[in-house]
Symmetry: C2
Subunit: 338 residues, 2 copies
């Protein structure tokens, strides 16, 4: 026998119908105030607490939980995204479960399966670098799904992306306008959708300006800032670049370490802002994503679908912005400006 | 009628007892291999998936979920802690729900209540800056509880802290050994346990060395790096400090911005490592916590208690380490060394 009071106990003590207690507990407001007061008294007297774990298995009830799968808790980009999603989700009365795939397909699959076992009301996911199983092979029921940052093969999902190609093209155009034409691309694996898009923007800017795309200036092995540092040192010794487009924040930090080690810098613009960017000398110019807007939109979309709203899957591409702080300029122009 | 297959359906299709299916689904290994193969086939054929939300309300089953409440998803200290906890929790077959209090007592109380409604198997919490309700007022049942980073009033909780006072005392001793005696303390509110401890370590080092503690050199309003920057500029103009002890990473970043604005630096050591520390010129010396060890220990402790292990609450204080990188030295000694 359970020692926890149930909704039935509350109904009996308050002398009202079970259905009325249920409506009260779910936060409905159109309840006779006298009955509501008796229910509230009974809840306090009995020490009743909702059991949302149990609620999920009753028809018409929901867990009030949303699941989020990001790539890495320790990457500031995903921390900021998690924070933005949590704030919106909480304002709408939901709890967010967040977990990470560590960019690994099988881990992603296991985490998604655990969230489905938990009967979440909706899922927001960032697909991992190495793909997991196709969504068509995931056993139904699958709750409303929003895919973030990178597209997926899910047929019935909303997708929210940033304008990676456009932001990168503008950054590289800016370096070209400053006089550069041998611009290095330092980034992560082109297996990643975002990297392919940023690389496409880089190539487009060079091509439009009539400059060759030189493979000797492209490094796509920068998973960490240590890897990026080594690539930049190698390229600056052997490839004679006159500027750097750092395609993520680890590439940017690695470049700063390389500049220090080599004793000189060349112009640079980075994709995604990072804490150290404004502390560098000169401060680093960046392409920024509106992470707060992306998280907010994802949370709104998944809750709308979970509560019976819009059912047609949409793809939204959010604009990026270029923030110029000085690092895009060569030293001689920087000194003139001072 | 449910359209989802149940464990009963699996048992019927496989021609085995329900209890055997239950043991199989829970990962037990001492099952007749022939029966296990039949159960596995039936699970695939029927498309059965565990319902852990429902499992929690059956006696003897658990949700296999642990709850974590941190202060802020966007603070790198808590992101690293979340990652360490998640890795340990996952290795033991649990899912981690993480949520943040944003340092606010009422928000902390609401989040804890939501996790209890979800019937988590255990809770790991960082108490918020402004205290929530006393734990004695939280309605039972409360699952095993581990309190991290700051102590709480919970009677039956394990507590894991870092040696904030000892690490700070050593940092300030190091600044004194380098010739400083008017050392500024830049930190957050002394309402925070960790700040009180770091301030105690600062005072102890000064007192042992025979130096006065000058209130004009103490700023405890550094909630953000902008606040810290303003305090450092004010203190360096009015208080004549000869070194800085930055009591958290925002205080350190604020100090770096202030140094740039003022055009000169003084020796500094910071509590907690941060991404920009190694990029600064000179690189910033820091007191580091073993965040991975703290997260690992918290996860192990809560799972051990949730699975019937050790019941006596313990308090563990983890050591800190001083990492010297150059910023603890005055410019004249730094230049001699080069």
């Amino acid at each position: 026998m359970s020692t926890n009071p149930t909704m039935n106990d509350v109904a009996r003590t308050a002398g009202v119908a079970l259905k009325t207690v249920s409506r009260f507990v779910n936060g409905e407001t159109n309840i006779n105030p006298l009955l509501a007061a008796r229910i509230a008294d009974a809840i306090v007297a009995l020490g009743y607490r909702r059991n949302l774990a149990a609620a999920r298995i009753r028809p018409g009830w929901t867990s009030k939980i949303l699941g989020l799968v990001i790539s890495d808790h320790a990457n500031p980009y995903y921390s900021a995204l998690t924070r933005a999603i949590e704030q919106t989700v909480r304002a709408r009365g939901y709890l967010l479960i967040s977990a990470s795939s560590e960019e690994d397909g099988p881990t992603f699959d296991r985490v998604v399966e655990r969230l489905l076992e938990q009967r979440v009301d909706g899922l927001i996911v960032v697909p991992p670098r190495s793909p997991g199983r196709p969504w068509a092979q995931v056993m139904p029921p699958i709750p409303p799904l929003v895919v973030l940052d990178r597209p997926s093969d899910a047929a019935d999902a909303d997708t929210i992306l940033a304008d990676n190609a456009g932001g990168s093209e503008l950054a590289v155009q800016t370096l070209i306008a400053g006089g550069a034409h041998r611009i290095a691309f330092i980034g992560d694996s082109l297996q990643l959708y975002t990297m392919r898009e940023r690389f496409a923007g880089y190539k487009a800017a060079l091509t439009v300006a009539g400059h060759a795309v030189d493979d000797a200036l492209v490094a796509t092995d920068a998973h960490s800032h240590e890897d990026a540092r080594a690539s930049v040192i190698r390229l600056m010794r052997e490839g004679n670049p006159d500027a750097i487009f750092a395609a993520n924040n680890r590439a940017a930090i690695g470049s700063l370490f390389a500049f220090r080690e080599l004793g000189h810098r060349i112009p640079m613009i980075a994709f995604d802002d990072f804490e150290a960017a404004q502390l560098a000398e000169p401060p680093i110019s960046v392409v920024t994503q509106n992470i707060t807007e992306m998280g907010h939109l994802a949370a709104e979309r998944v809750i709308d679908r979970a509560t019976g709203g819009e059912k047609t899957p949409t793809t939204t591409v959010l604009p990026t912005a270029l923030v110029l702080r000085g690092s895009e300029l060569p030293d001689d122009i920087l000194i003139e400006k001072v």
